[in-house]
């Protein structure tokens, strides 16, 4: 557990320190969820900030402290969907959309915690990460959000169901077909466990 119920309780009562602490604890997770959903740094930053502003404003409305995690992801998912809707209605296409993920290259190099590792290995890891991200982007939005929540955010099916406000069986079904779809996408790109092991 990334937080204690006491921290959430204090934040709900308006404790600024507790709220700041929650932001510090959850920012990376929400950013990564948004980043994997959009494969776009700017969009992920936008969603993350809006999520935590919304969290701050609606903290008093949190009914059960134990459901903070799914509640926070509900906000994040709603923000993602809102941004996605805006992006679809927007006529202009940013240059970044043409080659997504490219401009984060230097950012990732600088921010990487494993800078002491072999640079070549690090570059391959980065390329593989982008490749897998592109595969994820080929899934439908519904399947993608479930796969990300389960695979990368480590939520239980119950928590995902709460966050998305759908039944647990629907979540599992989306997960099954999402993984199945990913399997086909990976096969089409010749990405297997063996090829990754050989590359790395």
């Amino acid at each position: 557990m990334m937080h204690s119920d006491t921290l959430v309780s204090r934040a709900r009562e308006g404790d600024k320190n507790a709220q700041g602490k929650l932001v510090q604890l959850w920012y990376k997770r929400i950013y990564n969820f948004s980043y994997k959903f959009f494969f776009d740094h700017d969009m992920a930053m936008e969603v993350s900030q809006k999520t935590f502003i919304s969290m701050y404003k609606n903290m008093e409305g949190l009914q059960e402290i134990t459901r903070f995690k799914s509640w926070l992801y509900t906000i994040a998912v709603n923000q993602c969907r809102e941004e996605l809707r805006k992006k679809k209605t927007r006529r202009s296409v940013s240059l970044h959309d043409l080659r997504p993920g490219e401009h984060e290259e230097s950012y990732r190099w600088e921010a990487s915690s494993s800078r002491s590792e072999n640079p070549e290995k690090q570059l391959r890891q980065s390329e593989l990460s982008d490749l897998l991200q592109q595969c994820l982007m080929e899934l439908s939005d519904e399947q993608r959000e479930v796969v990300i929540m389960k695979e990368y955010e480590g939520l239980k099916f119950r928590e995902i169901a709460e966050a998305l406000q759908i039944s647990e069986n629907t979540v599992k079904s989306r997960m099954y077909y999402g993984l199945d779809g990913l399997k086909k996408i990976l096969e089409s790109k010749n990405i297997t466990k063996e090829t990754i092991g050989y590359e790395l």
Partner: protein, 285 residues
């Protein structure tokens, strides 16, 4: 034996979120169905591949929020603002109407919009009943009016003509008198001017000629002087050169004479010292 797990159960089994009782059932099912087992293994492999996409490093930015929780007042609500804006617009229109005084009227199929003017509605033209006239009466009326008009025009023209002729005569007489006076003045003035002009011209010419002659005499004198000087210099130079030439020729003659004298002396000396040899040589010739 007829147990067949659905996708939800299989995915829950894959992620270890299935209760113990169902796990056993699924395992037994998978033992009996290697194709489903292989499918699940494929999905598991996908999971392991996906695990290679790591997290992005990010630093949480400071988020500052306004700590004061404003209670929303009724005048800050959207409805109140909308109603107030409409009321303000109507008020503005009323004030504007009061200031510019628009008038809108509709009468006789005509819509009139005017600003800041008195209402002017044309009254319908009242049709007065006129007694009817016969055509001959109308013709007579026209004829009489035409005759009157012609008479009036002709008398007016006559009067104007007389006035015009009288004014022309007056202006001609006054202008001719003025021109005569001007001509007299001009002729007198011109005789005096011509005399003075001719006198001044003669004087100028005289002076000019004097100046010219003086200047030319001076120039000629200077020129002759310079010519004489140049000629004397030339003569001196020529004399020098002649002297030099003469001296040169004299010296060359002197030199030749000396040389001839020496040769003669040498010949004479030879003859004296060896008279026989000289005689032989003379005979040989």
């Amino acid at each position: 034996m007829n147990y067949k797990p659905d996708e939800s159960t299989l995915i829950a089994y894959l992620y270890g979120e299935l209760d113990a009782k169902n796990v056993e059932k699924v395992q037994e099912y998978l033992d009996r169905n290697p194709a489903v087992l292989k499918k699940l293994q494929g999905l598991s492999e996908v999971r392991s591949v996906l695990s290679h996409a790591g997290d992005q490093e990010v630093i949480a930015p400071p988020i500052f929020m306004d700590s004061t929780n404003h209670a929303s007042r009724f005048w800050e609500s959207g409805y109140f603002k909308t109603v107030m804006s409409i009321a303000a617009s109507i008020l503005f229109l009323l004030v504007a109407a009061q200031l510019i005084g628009p008038e809108i009227s509709y009468s006789g199929g005509e819509l009139r919009i005017s600003f800041n003017r008195d209402k002017q509605i044309e009254k319908p033209i009242e049709q007065v009943a006129v007694p009817t006239l016969s055509s001959s009466e109308v013709q007579d009326m026209i004829n009489t009016s035409l005759v009157k008009n012609n008479e009036q025009i002709s008398s007016e023209w006559e009067r104007n003509n007389r006035k015009l002729q009288a004014s022309l005569k007056n202006s001609l007489t006054t202008n001719s008198e003025k021109i005569d006076e001007l001509m007299k003045v001009a002729s007198q003035a011109s005789q005096e001017q011509v005399r003075t002009f001719v006198a001044s011209l003669q004087q100028d010419n005289l002076q000019l000629m004097k100046d010219y002659l003086q200047l030319s005499a001076k120039d000629q004198k200077t020129y002759v002087e310079s010519l004489l000087v140049d000629f004397s210099k030339y003569l001196q130079e020529q004399r020098k050169q002649d002297l030099v030439l003469f001296q040169t020729r004299m010296s060359s003659i002197e030199k030749n004479t000396d040389q001839f004298k020496q040769e003669t002396e040498q010949i004479l000396a030879n003859i004296i010292s060896n008279p026989e040899g000289v005689l032989k040589r003379v005979n040989n010739y």
